[in-house]
């Protein structure tokens, strides 16, 4: 505006149209907000009106199966998501802007392995670590290190390792192999990202501005924003996983059972498709007895790092272009790491 003052008629026009534009924007926002409340009411009313139809649909076994799994994944993820969002919002509210860059190592060769090991300290599953990693990036932590933390936290925390030990009784080498392969995969992905990754793809996380104001108010606003964002993407992921679980019978796995490359890929793919919690996947892996231990290790290494629910959450937190690159990279590295550690230990 100031610059336009000296420019005569043209500048005045710009200033005028600028005011008009702001006006128009506010107007549009007013309308959007009215629409917002209306949509909430409309959805509830419509659902109430269509209740008999919904009930009829649920009488179809396939639809009921889909709905149960969809709701189960959503409900199960909520406490973990709430925990992650709380931690993330607390970081936004109480950790000063320049704190993380100052205390964290800034050389990837050091920061990435440290982040991988630090993942052991967050007892939760993958839904919680996504918002936290997003916050770390927006607070100036080395992106490669934040991404390594994102991958390792749900894979090597104590709860997950204990449940793995319970699922594979008398086979401590499976627990060791899982921890090692996951650490290795998280570290390698972090280092690859530090070397070749383009932080431009993280702009969505970078753009997340912090609010100003008293810390508690910042915490509430951040948590509210994150909950709606992450929650929405969680719904996308849960619906995808439920669809794939319902549409693709597990019996097609029997065709590739055994220990070849096909069985490895099949179980890696199954982990992506099933999108189950990292605290539970060991039990599923234990039940897949027709597969080699290395294939089942791949299932447990890939699952906490790449699955359809996580890809949706990552796309929501970091941006779609990021997720489109990060997920294939992570899948390939996790598979390779599982094969290597499996060959060595199992």
């Amino acid at each position: 505006m100031l610059g336009s003052l000296g420019m005569g008629g043209v500048g005045d026009d710009v200033a005028l149209s600028e005011t008009a534009r702001v006006h128009e924007l506010e107007h549009r926002r007013d309308r959007r907000s009215d629409v917002g409340i209306a949509v909430v009411v409309l959805v509830i009313v419509a659902a109430a009106a269509l209740r008999p139809l919904l009930q009829d649909l649920l009488d179809k076994p396939a639809v009921a199966h889909w709905a149960t799994i969809f709701v189960a994944i959503t409900v199960q993820a909520m406490p973990f998501l709430a925990l992650g969002i709380t931690v993330s919002a607390a970081i936004a509210a109480f950790v000063p802007d320049d704190f993380l860059p100052r205390v964290l190592p800034d050389r990837p060769a050091l920061a990435v392995p440290v982040a991988a090991v630090a993942g052991a300290a967050l007892p939760g599953c993958e839904c919680g670590s996504v918002p936290i990693a997003g916050r770390l990036v927006s607070r100036g932590a080395l992106p490669a290190a934040a991404l390594t933390f994102l991958l390792s936290a749900p894979a090597i925390n104590p709860v997950v390792l204990v449940s793995t030990a319970v699922a594979f009784p008398g086979k401590p080498e499976v627990v060791a192999a899982r921890a090692l392969a996951s650490l290795l995969a998280a570290t390698v992905v972090g280092l690859v990202w530090a070397r070749f990754g383009n932080d431009r793809f993280l702009e969505r996380a970078r753009r997340r501005h912090s609010h100003d104001g008293p810390p508690l108010s910042v915490m509430v606003e951040t948590a509210q924003h994150d909950l709606l964002q992450a929650g929405g993407f969680l719904i996308v992921g849960a619906a995808t996983a439920a669809t794939l679980q319902t549409a693709v019978p597990r019996s097609i796995l029997d065709g590739v059972a055994g220990s070849g490359a096909a069985s490895l890929l099949a179980l890696g793919g199954l982990a992506v498709v099933m999108a189950i919690c990292s605290e539970a996947d060991a039990f599923v892996a234990a039940s897949l007895t027709q597969f080699s231990l290395t294939s089942r290790l791949a299932f447990m290494v890939v699952g906490p790092m790449v699955d359809v629910k996580l890809i949706a959450l990552q796309a929501g937190t970091f941006g779609g272009r990021f997720a489109a690159r990060f997920a294939p990279l992570t899948f390939a590295v996790a598979m390779g790491s599982a094969v290597f550690v499996g060959w060595w230990l199992l």
């Binding site: 917002g36 919904l54 149960t68 409900v75 929405g232 189950i276 599923v284």
Partner: protein, 229 residues
């Protein structure tokens, strides 16, 4: 005003929390997740309701337009889908549709060695998993001819009886895996698919991967409060 948009966001958030609390209060959550998660769902539900409430109150009190910026709800609208579904119809527990589509529980691992049951005692209630593991352990000698009672749902017909199944879940219904047992020796038509039944009978040696039970009584019952083992 501007604030009304976050009023909608706060409303959605409160509904999410309210649905979680309703699931725990009515115990319906056990259809979807493991019983142990109940406490965490309650905590999360209370926290999310409070968050939505604070947002709503702030949105209403903040009436100066243009002063505060606002976030769009964006993809958060999708949260209305499970809210609408759960407030009105609660999807059922997993049923026979998933049996045969999911891999069965591996009864050959983790069972260990069982002490023999006491012969002549009244029928002992037992999980399908324990029945399967006992059947595998030393080919079922630990049953010692004693009668047992199993609770599960009917998963399908077999020659001379039906398949009885119950899911094991370790976290939520997405990781459910069924234990399946063949119930033989029933007379008349088998109960309908997905009907919950209480079956009393004795283990029959010689079955394959799916153990056999010779039934002495089959009673139809309502679905148990905790449908998974």
């Amino acid at each position: 005003m501007v604030a009304a948009l976050s009023a909608a966001g706060g409303t959605i958030t409160m509904l999410v929390g309210a649905v979680l609390l309703r699931l725990t209060v009515t115990d319906t959550y056990r259809r979807y997740v493991k019983g142990g998660l109940g406490l965490w769902l309650t905590i999360a539900g209370v926290a999310i309701v409070l968050l939505g409430l604070v947002t709503l109150v702030r949105a209403i009190r903040r009436s100066r337009p243009g002063h505060e910026h606002d976030h769009g709800i964006g993809v958060g609208w999708l949260l209305l889908a499970p809210i609408a579904a759960l407030l009105l119809v609660a999807p059922p527990t997993l049923g026979s549709y998933g049996v045969g589509r999911a891999a069965n529980v591996n009864i050959k691992s983790g069972g260990g060695v069982f002490k023999p049951l006491r012969r002549g005692a009244p029928a002992l209630s037992m999980s399908l998993l324990e029945f399967g593991q006992r059947a595998y352990d030393h080919r079922g000698t630990s049953f010692n001819g004693a009668p047992v009672t199993l609770i599960g749902f009917v998963a399908g017909d077999v020659d001379g009886g039906f398949e009885l199944a119950r899911y094991q879940i370790s976290c939520c219904a997405a990781d459910a895996a069924p234990v399946v047992i063949r119930v033989l020796g029933t007379s008349g038509d088998p109960p309908a698919r997905d009907q919950w039944v209480s079956v009393t009978g004795k283990f029959k040696p010689g079955g394959g991967d799916i153990p056999d039970l010779i039934a002495t009584s089959v009673a139809q019952i309502p679905a148990p409060q905790d449908p998974y083992e």
